[in-house]
């Protein structure tokens, strides 16, 4: 049988790395040129494997990991991506929607103003005065009260809110945290001499007399 017939099969066997079997084995035993060719193929594949191994397992520079660590340290902390602050964005979105809705209600009610009052004054003055005097804010008030009710419900579900000066926000948070953990909170005026302290006397609040007018009078004016 011609050697050409076995050529492809021998290449396949060399590529797979297996030992030739049956008819192939018998042919190799009796054909010196095919044996040499098969040997050459085995050498070729061994060289390819060795070369690939060298390429794939090349030395890693020592500077690689420190440089990556430096870049990672310089990057934003994990979880600081925009969608990680989901609740914050949700609140902002609700606030924007509420703002637009309230504005829309005000505009709508401005359009419902009686035509007589529109005719009596120039448009620019009219627009400036609408929300203050004439506008029936029934819808808007209802809407705002709904939002407030919703806000109150959200607040009551979580923790109480406290008004603090801006620069003391962190301090109060830390104090509350300590309190929450049942640890004795640090007293700022621990060493103060309480005997020398006198109760403060705030000046009485002065309220200017209110000028109350009936709505009818305002309209006639």
């Amino acid at each position: 049988m011609p050697c050409e017939h076995y050529k492809d099969a021998l290449v396949e066997v060399a590529a797979s790395g297996a030992a030739p079997q049956g008819e192939l084995r018998a042919h190799l035993d009796e054909c010196a040129s095919c044996r040499a060719g098969f040997g050459g193929e085995q050498t070729l594949f061994a060289a390819i494997d060795s070369g690939i191994h060298a390429v794939a397992n090349t030395e890693v520079p020592l500077s690689l990991l420190p440089r990556i660590r430096a870049r990672v340290a310089g990057a934003a902390p994990l979880g600081s991506s925009w969608f990680a602050n989901g609740p914050l964005w949700a609140c902002a979105a609700v606030a924007v929607v509420a703002l637009f809705a309230a504005r829309g209600v005000v505009h709508k009610s401005a359009e419902n103003q009686p035509p007589a009052s529109k005719a009596s004054s120039p448009p620019s003055v009219q627009a400036a005065q609408l929300p203050l005097v004439v506008v029936p804010l029934k819808g808007a008030v209802a809407h705002v009260s709904q939002i407030r009710a919703l806000q109150n419900r959200v607040v009551s579900l979580s923790m109480p809110e406290v008004l603090v000066p801006q620069d003391q926000e962190v301090l109060v948070a830390q104090y509350a945290q300590q309190w929450q953990r049942h640890k004795p909170a640090t007293l700022v005026a621990e060493d103060a001499d309480w005997t020398t302290l006198t109760p403060s006397k705030p000046a009485p609040i002065q309220i200017n007399p209110l000028d109350v007018k009936l709505l009818k009078e305002v309209e006639s004016q």
């Binding site: 070729l44 070369g51 390429v55 794939a56 890693v60 500077s63 440089r67």
Partner: protein
């Protein structure tokens, strides 16, 4: 007048603390993965680019991307495969852009461009077959190249490669077999330069 802000001290402090702890934990975990898989990212990039400096750049970029997306990775056991795919993709992008740049430069400065002469020392110093092999490897289709490189890298099993690349085991075997045969076809004419070790 002093400006006041409305806060929820306990819940804000608690959520801040929890977030910080989670971040620290994720960072610790990433650090472990970095030490384990950093070299792999470099080697994948090096296998594609055949250039140490470019490979290091790509590995850094890949790991930085992996860091940024680490919290989105639900199954952390898949980090290795994920990183391999990022590195491979980035390396290919860089290779393509380098090729485009080369073509553009060649178009603009063709007459002035001359191949640097190869000295006798260069020839003696280089392993000819290895350079032919690297050239042939670069011409392999991407999928075949990646499978072949991973099979020779860090003793990965066929199953591990299948998991990393996201294809069945049989596909990996077939890719490796075809890749080796293609390389053999290209390198048969250079078989006389094989340096036996």
């Amino acid at each position: 007048m002093q400006e006041l802000v409305l806060i929820q001290p306990v819940s804000a402090a608690r959520s801040g603390l929890v977030r910080e702890e989670a971040q620290a934990e994720a960072r610790r975990e990433f650090e472990e993965r970095l030490a384990e898989c950093g070299p792999l990212a470099y080697r994948v990039a090096r296998g594609v680019l055949r250039n140490d400096a470019d490979a290091e750049d790509v590995a850094q970029e890949a790991l930085l991307r992996a860091y940024k997306g680490f919290e989105r990775l639900r199954d952390r056991n898949r980090f290795r495969g994920w990183l391999v795919r990022i590195s491979f993709r980035l390396a290919l992008d860089r290779l393509r852009s380098a090729k485009r740049r080369e073509q553009r430069d060649a178009t603009w400065s063709a007459p002035a461009r001359l191949a640097s002469p190869i000295t006798a020392e260069d020839v003696a110093a280089s392993n000819q077959f290895q350079s032919h092999l690297e050239g042939a490897l670069a011409e392999l289709p991407e999928k075949l190249r990646l499978a072949l490189l991973l099979s020779a890298m860090e003793g990965h099993t066929i199953e591990e490669i299948a998991a990393m690349v996201g294809v069945p085991v049989g596909t990996v075997k077939s890719r490796i077999f075809v890749a080796r045969k293609k390389l053999a076809e290209k390198l048969r004419c250079h078989a006389n330069t094989i340096k036996m070790r």
